[in-house]
């Protein structure tokens, strides 16, 4: 195993936003998050409770990740699948610790738009829609946001044209003012950098990819963002983690989230393999 590609590293970094013993959920159409959850479960977070996206299966051990989120292959090995309402009840009463959320637009407070770009009545681009994200983004304990389209300049924007899922504050107020118990976005992992959120709920650069300059991040971002005092490089994945990504996602469904340009990013393992 001489090296790894960016999509593999990206998924491993997403996996590390999960801590052990969390109850974690990904939505449909989210292969990077989906693979990341299985990587976490099989490495640093064995006692997490993995809720498999559109199957609502608990801790399944699928032999492969199919290109759709509700294929029965995704519930293999699960002793139990939640009913639809059982999952959503758990999410709205605050029993889910983490959800992965993405969006066609993501603003400075981590609000996301998966509904429509442009004016609502005659949108420039009608996106697919938010599924179940909207309500439950208010009450799930922490959110991991991710995007693979930061570089486009159209994704990480000052203001969303439509707020589908809640970040730290919207024009209607902060989470505290809205009475929401969920903590909001904790991380944004993009192909240009890894961000957290400051006390005001604003996005802040926290980790950098070695092949992306801060200038490139600035150029692609629709607003000024702070840089954390302890900004540092994203930790490299271990060989075991990369091997897990490949084993779990042998159909490489995760790669469908990336532009070809990102898929060309390649890295070498820098330390001598332990084995």
């Amino acid at each position: 195993m001489s090296g790894y590609t960016f999509d593999e590293w990206f998924v491993v970094r997403l996996a590390h936003t999960i801590t052990d013993r969390e109850v974690v959920f990904h939505g449909f159409a989210s292969p990077c998050a989906q693979v990341a959850m299985h990587v976490a479960k099989r490495s640093h977070a064995p006692d997490m409770m993995l809720i498999e996206g559109a199957m609502y299966a608990i801790n399944p051990t699928p032999a492969f990740i199919p290109p759709t989120s509700n294929d029965n292959s995704l519930k293999q090995g699960a002793a139990y699948s939640m009913r639809f309402e059982e999952f959503f009840d758990a999410a709205i009463r605050g029993d889910v610790d983490r959800m992965f959320v993405s969006g066609g637009q993501i603003d400075v407070y981590g609000n996301t738009n998966v509904t429509a770009v442009g004016p609502l009545e005659r949108p420039k681009v009608k996106l697919g829609g938010g599924g179940g994200g909207c309500n439950i983004s208010a009450t799930i304990r922490q959110l991991t946001l991710w995007t693979t389209r930061h570089r486009s300049g159209r994704t990480v924007v000052a203001e969303c044209d439509f707020i589908t899922d809640l970040g730290h504050r919207t024009p209607a107020g902060t989470r505290a003012e809205l009475g929401y118990t969920g903590g909001g976005p904790q991380w944004l992992v993009s192909e240009l950098g890894v961000f957290d959120y400051d006390a005001d709920g604003r996005m802040r650069l926290r980790e950098t990819w070695p092949d992306v300059s801060i200038e490139q991040v600035r150029a692609a971002t629709g607003f000024e963002f702070a840089i954390a005092g302890d900004v540092h490089s994203v930790a490299a994945p271990t060989e075991a983690e990369v091997a897990l990504v490949r084993a779990i996602d042998s159909l490489e469904v995760r790669r469908g989230e990336f532009d070809s340009r990102e898929l060309e990013r390649e890295f070498e393992f820098t330390t001598t393999p332990a084995r």
Binding site: F28, A63, N70, K75, K126, G128, G129, I163, G256
Partner: protein, 303 residues
């Protein structure tokens, strides 16, 4: 409640219950258990102005939109995930203003269906306040909790005229066996005025009861045996979804002309679903049923 001891009808009769402008809930989700045979039959019968509701859907909604059968869309998502991308006909109609998009979110739809099931005039929800969902739903209201003073959103009951549900197995009473995920199908059955069901196979009640009844027959007005009635969606344990056919559809739906050609080729068939299956051919269909033979066989369906 539908108490007839025999609900079996043909597909045309079943679909004819649905009227122009009916409020229609679509069962299944994404690529699983979509009521595609009913969707195709509604298109054949020229149904118009439907108001469709549901959670996360794909080809069922897109095909209805492509055929001009939809006026209002109140799904939480319409698309083909990362794999095949945005829903072409839906997107075109939404951007062109030829359908009204009343996009919703899963908990809101669930809560509205629960209000219908409980016969209540409203139920409260959180999590909409502060988002732009309210812009799409002026029909919601505010309500203050009499115990805590918290301001919540009140939503009215959602009572679909029809729930269109596909199940792998059913019996003559309309009892249906589903595999997980049931998605909203149980809630649709309880909230709707009528369930119109297709099943891959009708079996004796004893056989069905051994597998387990997921949706009881008293909700079901009509049941039709339509083998591969969910195709190209999956209907486990019978068959996986047909990714190649869906991909072909998404390509076709990308322009109005090629969408029209798809409808002519695959929907407007004189022999209806019999012609559809014949056109697909027995071998490709048999391949979709082979998923359980081995992991490689299953995985191979999605390459």
């Amino acid at each position: 409640m539908y108490l007839d001891p025999d609900k079996r009808v043909d597909l045309a009769t079943a679909a004819s219950h649905v009227r122009d402008a009916s409020l229609v809930a679509l069962g299944g989700a994404l690529t699983s258990r979509l009521p595609m045979a009913l969707v195709r039959e509604l298109i054949r019968q020229g149904r118009r102005d439907l108001h469709v509701v549901g959670s996360a859907h794909g080809m069922d909604v897109d095909l209805l939109v492509a055929a001009g059968a939809v006026a209002v869309c109140e799904e939480s998502y319409v698309g083909f995930e990362q794999d095949l991308g945005l829903a072409p006909a839906y997107r075109r109609a939404a951007e062109g203003g030829t359908i009204t998009v009343k996009e919703s979110c899963c908990v809101t739809i669930l809560t509205q269906l629960r209000a219908a099931e409980m016969g209540l005039p409203f139920l409260p929800v959180r999590g909409i306040k502060g988002t732009d969902m309210r812009r799409l739903h002026p029909e919601y209201a505010e309500i203050t909790c009499p115990f805590t003073g918290e301001l919540l959103v009140a939503v009215p009951p959602l009572i679909p005229d029809f729930a269109l549900i596909h199940a792998p197995l059913g019996d003559q009473f309309g009892n249906l066996f589903l595999e997980q995920p049931y998605v909203l199908d149980e809630r649709f059955a309880g909230a709707s005025r009528s369930v119109i069901a297709t099943v891959d196979q009708i079996v004796p009640t004893d056989t069905l009861a051994e597998r387990g009844v997921t949706i009881p027959g008293y909700f079901v007005q009509a049941v039709v045996e339509v083998p591969f009635g969910a195709h190209p969606a999956s209907s486990y344990p019978n068959y996986a979804y047909d990714r190649q056919h869906m991909s072909r559809y998404v390509t076709a739906a990308s322009t109005p002309d090629s969408a029209e050609a798809y409808l002519a080729e695959w929907v407007h068939l004189p022999g209806g679903e019999d012609d559809y299956r014949a056109k697909l051919g027995p071998e490709p269909l048999a391949r979709l049923t082979s998923w359980s033979q081995s992991v490689d066989q299953w995985k191979g369906l999605f390459v």
